[in-house]
Symmetry: C2
Amino acid sequence: MTIGLDMMGGDYAPLEAVKGLQLFLLDSDAPATVFLFGDEAVLQPLLQEHAIPADRYTIVHAPQVIGMHEHPTKALKEKQQSSIAVGFYFLAQGKIDAFISAGNTGAMLVGSLYSLKSIEGVLRPTISTIIPKDNGQTGLLLDVGLNADCKPENLNQFAVLGSLYAKHILGIDNPRVGLINIGEEEGKGNILAQAAYPLLKENSRINFVGNVEGRDVLIDKADVMVCEGFTGNIILKLAESIYEITHRKDIHHSYFDRFNFENYGGTPVLGINKPVIIGHGISGARAFQNMLNLAARMVQSDLFAQMQAAFRH
Amino acid sequence: MTIGLDMMGGDYAPLEAVKGLQLFLLDSDAPATVFLFGDEAVLQPLLQEHAIPADRYTIVHAPQVIGMHEHPTKALKEKQQSSIAVGFYFLAQGKIDAFISAGNTGAMLVGSLYSLKSIEGVLRPTISTIIPKDNGQTGLLLDVGLNADCKPENLNQFAVLGSLYAKHILGIDNPRVGLINIGEEEGKGNILAQAAYPLLKENSRINFVGNVEGRDVLIDKADVMVCEGFTGNIILKLAESIYEITHRKDIHHSYFDRFNFENYGGTPVLGINKPVIIGHGISGARAFQNMLNLAARMVQSDLFAQMQAAFRH
C-alpha cells in the first residue's frame, strides 16, 4: 500500500507533516510506504532530523506550492509542478493508493472532481464531517460545503455514501440515516427536504429513521445526517467554533474536547473512485497522523468496492 | 398600555404564567394593565393565591385551549373561544396593544399572519432569535423557521426589520448586518446567498458588513444575521441543545448560561403591525416575566412607527 502525502500543504507544513509521518510510522502496523510530495531540498534534512526510516518513504520532488488563498482552478493549471498537482497525477496514474493534503481546500476539491473519476452513477461527490454525539458515539454529517445547492436525489446519494463510510470506516453497523430538517414529521421543511424525504424513505440501501432537527444533531438520534452543503457547512463551522470558544474561555470537558477537529484529521471526498483526504489548514502532527491512519483504513477496507456496487444499476 | 397574555399556553400554564405575571408586576414600572386570556374559573383562585393586585389585570374568559400538537389552522377555526383565538381578536380590535403566548407555535404564527395585517410593503413576516456572542454582546438571527424557503428580497427585508429591532429594542446603535453564508467573499455561497449579497450591499437602510460564516455566528462579527428559515432554525435549535447538553453534563459557565433561552422569554413576530410574542412551550415564570417586559418595551418604543416608515415607498 502506498499513501501520498502533500508535505507542503497547511499552515504548519512541512514540519508538522514530518512529525505526523513520524507518529504514524511509529504507531501504525499498516504495511504502508508513504510518498512525500514537496521540495526535496526542504524535506530531506527534516526527514533525517526526525530519523524517519528511509525504507518507509519515497520523496516525489514537487518544487511548487499552491498557496492557501490562490484560486484553485487557476493554480492547479499554472502550477503543474506543485505538490497537489503532482499528487493527483500520481493518484490518477495508480502510482499511489490514496492522497492526503492539508493545503488549499479548493484545489483539493477541484483535483478530486477533475483529475479523478466519480464512481459511476454518483451525481455529485461530497465531503463530510464527524459529529461527536453527547453520549460518546460518533455521527457523520454530509454534505458540508462541496454542494451548496442540491437536488433531492443528491441527498439520497449522500445517504448511501455516508452509510457505507459509517459502516466500513467508522464501524457502525446498520447506520441510522436522518434527514436534517426543521420539524419532526414527514412533510415538514423546505422544498428540498420535503422532496428528499420520500426518496430516503423508499431507499432500501439505507436505514432511514426520519427527520433530525437542529437540536438532534449532537444527540445520538441518527448516525448519518444528510443535508445540502450550505446548512452542513454552517453546522460544521459552528461546531468548530464551539471548541475554539470553550478553549479560549478555559472551559475544559471531555465532551468539548471531542470537538477538536484535529482528532479526526481530515475529511475524505466521498463518491470518487480513490481515497482523497482533505485536512484542515491548521493541521498539526496529530492531524497528519490521523489522516495517514484514515487513508490506510480506507485503502484496506471494502469501502470502494461497496460504493461502486451500490451505484451499479 | 394593555398587554394580552395567554394564560393557558405552554407546558406549565397557567401556574407559571401567574408567577411570571407576579414577577412582572413587582419588578416593572411600565404602566401596564394585563389582559389575561383563559378559563376564569381556573385563573381566579390562582391569581388570588398569588395576591395579584386586582387593578392590574382583567380576565377575559376563554374556556377553550388549543393543545400543543393540534393542527394550527384547524384549531383556530374550530376553537374560536380558545385563549389564542380570543387574544388575537382583542389585538386585531385594538382592545390590547400586544399579545403573548407560550402555546401552540403554529397557531400563534397563523394568528399573526391572518388575524393581523402585515406592515405595508413587507413581503413575509419573520421570527428571530437572540444569539449570545462570546464577548458578552447580543446578536439577532433571523429568520429562524417561519420562512423555510426564501427569495433574495425576503432576506433583504429581514435585514431591515432585524436592524430596527436591534436598534429600538436591543439598544444596538447602527447594527452591523451580516449574511449567513459559506465563505467570506462576495460571490460565495448557494444561489440564494449569491443573489441576496448585492441587494444587502446596496441597501442604504442597513449597515451591511458582508458574509458571516458558521464560525462567526457566536462571535461578535455582526449584530443582525440574516438567512432563510431552514438554516436559521437549525442554528437556533443547535444553540438551544448546547445549553441543554452543558446543563445535563453539569458544565457550568456564564457563557453557556446565556444560551438558556428562558432568559429571553420569547420571540416577536416581526413585519406585522402589532407586537406578538411567541414563547417557548417550556416557558417558566421567568420566561413569562421577560415576555411581558419585552411586550411593554415594544409598545413603548418607536419600533412600529420606524418599521412602517422603512417600508413606505
